[in-house]
Amino acid sequence: MKKLASFVVDYWVYVLKGGVKFYAWLGFLSLFLIGWAYGNFMQLSQGMIVTGLSDQVSWGLYLANFVFLVGVAAGAVTVVFPAYVYKHKGLHEVTVLGEMVAIAAVVMCMLFVLNHMGRPDRLWHMLPFIGIYNWPGSMLTWDVIVLVGYLILNVIGGFYFLYKKYAQEPLDKGFYMPVIYIAIVWALSIHTVTAFLINTMPARPMWHHGMMPIRFITTAFAAGPSLIIIVFTIVRTNTKFWIRDEALDMLAQIVIWCLGIALFLTLSEVVTEFYHPTEHSLGLQYLMFGHNGLTGLVPWFWFSMVAMVVSFILLLIPSVRKNYRRLPYVCALAFVGIWVEKGMGLLIPGSIPTPIGEFTEYSPSIVEIFNSLGNWAIGFIVLTLLLKGAIGVLLGEVKYASE
């Protein structure tokens, strides 16, 4: 018990101490919290009217970010899976960093869901047993279970590993390995259930097909490792902690595979919908080409397509993929492309046209943008602090009785 208390203290003391760069980065992120505070104040005092949402398009930027970030959280398994199932050495050393990315992503997911709620004061209804919980009927209740479960698994897996490392004790494999294997399967479940959230609605033909879950998983396993490659590159150039080239290379290969499959699935969908279009194709038509001069989403769609295709082609070229200076930029392009594809390219056109054929355009309001930027900033602050602590423990700079 004493050891655990000193772990908590030592961990936080280490995390909060840093150089100029560290504080500058946190300070920069904190700037977004000003807009975030303003946005939340506006939204809590005046209601959802300050967002760009309407009865026709009632899921917007917040849930788009949520859906994307669930993917990023699930994508962390691309570090854990090769490390433990294929005994990949480079990734095995940094598993815990992947888990930290997952924790930060789930935290952001929760912030976005909270922002989306018309009655955030009734969040407690979403707690099993305590609130009124329409389980198993409502897909949203399943999503709460899998997301909270994933957060708990990663917190347990990550911090148990760090604590044992700190205490310089061997891991209890009988406890640790089951947590890891459950977390691997669980990662698939979080994005599957999030896909089920939207593809179980016959009212929205654009979402209502069986390809949705696998499309979610492939984009997740492209976006997640893309972010992790960027994070790993920053870590190895700015800290004493070295992450091997093999680790980055493995992740880059996962990105290529999954991005390629994702593009293939998008192509399949376009062919299916356009070969002989019916009214069910209207959402995709509006997204790709607009409708009677309403073209709000067209640039977003083509931007995401270009970003995904270009990053895919670039990653195929070994001289780009193996150049670890260029790789993060290509990954950033893929990351942004998938972010647009999941959000403006999937969630919004599901509601346009509405089932009765109305075309209502949606663009996020300034409050939504402030809140979203703020949520991302909080996520990155959490990620920075988690990574700093984890790296400290891995380097042995934080260890029991070190003073």
Binding site: G47, S58, G118, M126, N134, G137, A203
Partner: protein, 204 residues
């Protein structure tokens, strides 16, 4: 137990929107919120063109997608088949709005109840008494004027209709006017392919 439903006689509807006004008045609906709407559509090729009016409201589906997706169980079906929203349970997630194939859900924002219809933040006494019944932040819809139905009255839109184009009644009672119309004139539910078993039917 009754199983309430509604029939729209499209031959009779003249698109006057009296039902819409009657509904807004009965329920004190704030600016921009409608529980019933009358759509209109032109059809045919010139010179043989015509216009049809299609009244719409919540279809109180037997297999309601909004009820299925609701995470807090706020949406429920009464024994008499009326689909209701419990204002105390709704968390305002908007799942029902996305799941409803008929676009019949509406989210009540806070400022709707402070602005007032005439703006400048002043509520009329009529608005004041009515708005207290609403919970801002929740997602709501038509409830067939459940209070009136409990009192043995027809919904407000039905009594307002000048041409008797809206017929409310017990679909389980084969002798009710609604059941008879559906049977004799081939009542069709809206978007049957959505498989929601609506309790609202159209005859023409």
């Amino acid at each position: 137990m009754a199983r309430y439903g509604m029939v729209f006689d499209l031959r009779r509807c003249i698109g006057c929107n009296a039902c819409v006004v009657g509904c807004k008045q009965e329920n004190t609906l704030p600016d921009g919120v409608f529980f019933t709407r009358t759509l209109s559509e032109e059809y045919g090729v010139f010179p043989a063109v015509n216009r049809v009016y299609i009244p719409t409201l919540c279809n109180h589906c037997e297999d309601a997608p909004c009820e299925k997706v609701c995470p807090s169980g706020a949406t429920y079906t009464r024994e008499d088949g009326i689909v209701m929203v419990d204002a105390d349970k709704c968390i305002g997630c908007g799942s029902c709005a996305v799941a409803c194939p008929y676009d019949q859900r509406t989210e009540l924002s806070k400022d709707l109840f402070t602005q007032g219809l005439f703006g400048e933040g002043e509520l009329t006494p009529f608005e004041e008494q009515g708005y207290s019944r609403f919970t801002p932040g929740m997602v709501t819809k038509c409830d067939f004027c459940s209070g009136r139905v409990d009192a043995g009255l027809d919904p407000a839109c039905v009594v307002t209709c000048p041409t008797d184009a809206r017929i409310f009644g017990d679909l389980d009672d084969p002798d009710s006017k609604a059941s008879r119309l559906i049977r004799e004139r081939g009542g069709r539910p809206p978007l049957p392919e959505k498989n929601t078993s609506p309790k609202v039917f159209y005859v023409d």
